[in-house]
Amino acid sequence: MSNTLTDTTKSNEAAPRTKKSPLSGLSFDSSAPLLEVENLQVEFHTRDGVAHAVNDVSFALGEGETLGILGESGCGKSVTAQAIMGILDTPPAKVTGGQVRYRGVDLLQLDEKTRRHIRANKIAMIFQDALSSLNPVFTVGWQLGELYRKHTGASRKEARAKAVELLEMVGIPAAKARVNDYPHQFSGGMRQRVMIAMALALQPDVIIADEPTTALDVTVQAQVMTLLSDLQREMQLGLILITHDMGVVADVADKICVMYAGHAVEQADVYEIYEQPAHPYTKALLESIPRIDQKGQELTVIKGLPPALVDPPPGCAFHPRCAFAQDRCKTDEPPLYKLPGNRRSACHYWEEVVKS
């Protein structure tokens, strides 16, 4: 998996910094939505066949908005993020269709050099595993500063000052001293803060956080999520939060997109989706998790396993596990039905799901 660090090292080969930015040739429309993903399709060519990792996924993100992408492992949520960032390993992955528009410009049409500038400057990403995303042989300050120097042409001294400023912004105590520390000298939570600082270094408008707190302890998770949502509010960032944790998204997201087997199966406002899910998978997920504020009875189980993406079941991919499934679900793939109140659900029988 690529990351912001390798991006900056790659830019060593880029043209001298005195040249005008590759972004100046693009006409960003500030009235267009911040980020729009439309009918995105990604395939993986594997030995076992073609895996359809992302199928016709569409969503939009506005300024200051948090979109939670929810799903289990292998549902295509991380691949979606990597396709937006342009950091998929191609091959085996291939974006076979759709658009990713940032302020009206389709990023998928741009050349690699321009995309590199979009990353970090406009869209940045935070990864789950901060220890493997940071280079162990350089100090944290050097890594933060390098990113800044390469993209803005600042001097080493300026870059260092900027690194300290960034570390202070993400709440690292004694930032002036810690800037000389190596990644292993930081705790897990502090390292994730460094990753956030790195993502924000060039003031992007969109942050994609891929399971940013999954490896952290619960109290540290709370610290990092608080920091992330504070910064987001302050800077009016668009935030895409990718997670499998239904609790984390309930706390911070405005909108939710639930993914299953490469499909966006339900999209709705956060309050609606928890109150009254309109897709059997969302409903079953909510019923299958134990809650800390209730002593539960036996958990409702989703029978079976998620399908292999190489050989998904015909019709609706969820039908073998679905409690609402009928014969039609085995043959007809459900479209993303429009529901009242700007909701969407990819279920033929969403009305029954809502009523139940």
Binding site: E72, S73, L131, P173, A174, H184, Q185, F186, S187, G188, G189, M190, R191, A215, L216, D217, V218, T219, V220, Q221, A222, Q223, M225, T226, H244, D245, M246, G247, V248, A250, D251, A253, V270, Y271, Y274, E275, A284, L285, L286, S288, I289, P290, R291, I292, D293, K295, G296, E298, L299, T300, V301, I302, K303, L305, P306, R321
Partner: protein
Amino acid sequence: MSIDVTESEQLSQGSNDDAVLEVRDVKKYFPLTQGIVFKRTIGHVKAVDGVSFELKKGETLGVVGESGCGKSTLGRLLMGLERPTDGSIKLLGEEMAGLSPRAMRRMRRNIQIVLQDPYSSLDPRMTVGDIVGEPFEIHTEVLGRKDRREAVQDLLDVVGLNPDHINRYPHQFSGGQRQRIGIARALALRPKILVCDEPVSALDVSVQAQVVNLFERLQDEFGLSYVFIAHDLSVVRHISDRVMVMYLGKAVEVGNESEIYDHPTHPYTQALLSAVPVPDPRLRGNRDQIVLEGDVPSPADPPSGCRFRTRCWKAQDVCATDLPLLVTRDGSAHPSACHFAEERDVVHAVENPVEIHGVGGPSTNGSHPSTNGSHPS
């Protein structure tokens, strides 16, 4: 506030005959050494530092805490995989320390473990039949060679796997199915107690519920007692009868499921619970928020007195000098190791939610391995 009874006295009051496991003041210190040829001990990591509890037949004790709090070491001590530095562990009334290796092996039949990672805890070159049947190879007196295959198939059936898959290899199974193989192996010798060390943490949410339900069914079927070690507080609430909260090698609060979750009195329990996100957006901003600053101090050099005092918003001078005992205090029905134990609901919506910030711990330098967010194995 006067406390007349000591910690172990109070705990022993409740002791009776149906306890299958009695743990008294057990300690495990790992030496820190320096030098290559002449190793000098320069200190100790106090991984478990005086933990007492008892487990009754058919009961589930949940052990929660963050990484580095000693919960996994406690599990290893119970299994006899580590020798305690001090204290006593009685399994079915028999003291584990001082048993001969042979007697120890016999005792161990009664207590088995289910490990976290179903990918690394199963040998990829052994078939499922070999894995589940391995306990019979070690404890040869349990079952004759001829009956083993059938016993293994029965076990697979019990945990919800197809008995015909006995000759398959672990890689042919999904994560949830592998965890079932691990459970079948643990059940092979018909133990009385199962130590479950993060058994569902590596599983996807939709599969997690299947395994949690399996644990509950097996408990009813075989009358098992569980020590359920996990960091996921929601799962622990669901499965446990009683819960023990650990911080830096010590139990800070023990109570039944409702006492801990609905009426927590120790500040650390409250902080831990308030940090757990609830999957209900309507609770947003309607719960008390306790944000702890800093990191857990190093277990090699824990703070004096109460170990939580460096991050506690209630800490007074007395906390630095007097170690608070885990005893029942005024105004609460369950033991709590805090001088200022006071009930606070942090899990449900409250009328006027407050935000509390813990003081910054001294150890923001998390260079200690146990504080870097990885799970000690």
